[in-house]
């Protein structure tokens, strides 16, 4: 039996599809929740990241200053960091802006084809020049590919972590 008790999930630059897939585990969530305590997540109410978390699932790429700050803090307070889904693993769709840079994206979104052209500066975090996968910023322990990873895959990962094993998804899951 493993000593991994607390679970957190975070949502960086992604579409939340991985979280949806997490919920797709359906009744297996109940089974897992008897062993894990979900201490931090977009799905729960807590606002600050706890001092010590056993397992954190990270969805999304690192795309803004805010993401960067968050992931560094999370790494510091997490024992097993899991990159969940292609955005966390490769940047995926979030990183497609790397092909052209930030400026054209900002122009397209906030200035062209809008009624009131205006780039927001207050209350929103500044974007990084380059969107990066999580492991380019902090060390990652487990990689779970998929866009999104299937509920079965996520269940397998969590079960194996609970069983005290390092999950290997070789030959199980792939990008996309």
């Amino acid at each position: 039996m493993s000593d991994l008790k607390t679970l957190a999930t975070v949502w960086l630059d992604g579409c939340s599809g991985c979280h949806m897939s997490l919920l797709d585990m359906d009744e297996r969530l109940v089974e897992l929740s008897s062993q894990f305590t979900l201490v931090y997540s977009p799905l729960v109410d807590r606002k600050t990241f706890p001092d010590r978390v056993d397992v954190t699932l990270v969805e999304g790429a690192v795309a803004s200053e805010d993401d960067l700050k968050k992931i560094r803090k999370i790494r510091e307070h997490t024992r097993v960091l899991v990159s969940l889904g292609d955005c966390a693993l490769t940047g995926n769709v979030s990183a497609m802006r790397n092909m052209c840079g930030v400026q054209p994206v900002m122009l397209r979104v906030y200035e062209q084809n809008v009624v009131q052209p205006q780039v927001p500066t207050v209350g929103v975090p500044a974007l990084l020049n380059r969107v990066r996968p999580v492991h380019e910023v902090v060390p990652v322990d487990v990689f779970v590919p998929g866009c999104p990873p299937s509920a079965d895959t996520i269940y397998q990962v969590l079960s194996e972590l609970l069983a005290g094993k390092v999950p290997t998804l070789e030959g199980v899951a792939h990008f996309g």
Partner: protein, 240 residues
């Protein structure tokens, strides 16, 4: 050259097998259900030995040898999988993913892509080396087909099928190094090509979503490169 190929005995991963002397290690291995990953190889086309995924250990050889172009020999001892080879293959695959913009989730070939399949087979769960994010064009000028260079792995299957089977030589490779690009004619829009017969063979042999039919929507497009061996046999005619 003797017309009758001789039989050679060799071992692959310790198993003794026989093969015809004109067979490559790859052919012999696949005949005996030993899996060796490949990307540029396609039955019915000439070999280029470029993808380096089929590299195997041959006892006594100084270097790893590409199974696709190395002929079997008597007493050869071949190892197709070892921790070292597996590590090399994964890294080669990572280089493929990182050099262009492979975003499986939005690709027309998602689920039917040889590159994606390889990542599954070789157990590549993430790409350690940084993506390059080159700016590459998409050419949709052809009435039926599209080429998206972001997804091209430069296997040159399209170039070879166009030259060796169709005979049109529409496709070629321009530039060199990381700037290499498959092109039609004088790098003009595919739709303006004077030589393209629109036969679509290039699309069928493309291992990724780089070449696709415009009618392929979503990710249900399977490609059918199996016609190649058939064409070869029919073209060569009746063997005496």
């Amino acid at each position: 050259m003797s017309a009758e190929p001789n039989v050679r005995t060799l071992t692959i991963n310790g198993e003794e097998i026989s093969a015809r002397s004109d067979q490559s290690i790859l052919e012999a291995a696949r005949e005996h259900n030993v899996e060796i990953p490949t990307l540029c190889h396609l039955e019915g086309l000439s070999e280029v030995g470029a993808c380096r995924l089929c590299l195997v250990e041959v006892k006594g050889a100084r270097r790893l040898l590409p199974a696709c172009v190395t002929q079997v020999a008597e007493g050869m001892e071949v190892t197709t999988h070892s921790p070292k080879i597996d590590r090399y293959r994964t890294m080669i695959l990572e280089m493929y993913f990182a050099e262009r913009n492979h975003v499986c989730s939005v690709c027309v070939a998602n689920g039917n892509c040889e590159l994606q399949d390889l990542s599954l087979k070789l157990g590549m769960t993430h790409v350690e080396i940084p993506y390059q994010y080159p700016q590459l064009p998409v050419d949709a000028s052809h009435p039926r087909f599209t080429v998206d260079h972001n997804r091209c792995v430069l296997c040159t299957r399209c170039v070879r099928v166009c030259s060796e089977i169709e005979g049109a030589n529409t496709w070629g490779v321009m530039g060199r190094g990381a700037q290499s690009l498959v092109i039609t004619d004088l790098k003009q829009p595919w739709g303006d090509s004077e030589t393209c017969t629109s036969c679509g063979k290039c699309v069928q042999v493309c291992p990724t979503g780089a070449l696709f039919e415009k009618t392929s929507v979503g990710n249900k497009t399977r490609k059918h490169p199996e016609f190649l061996p058939y064409l070869r046999i029919m073209r060569e005619g009746e063997q005496p």
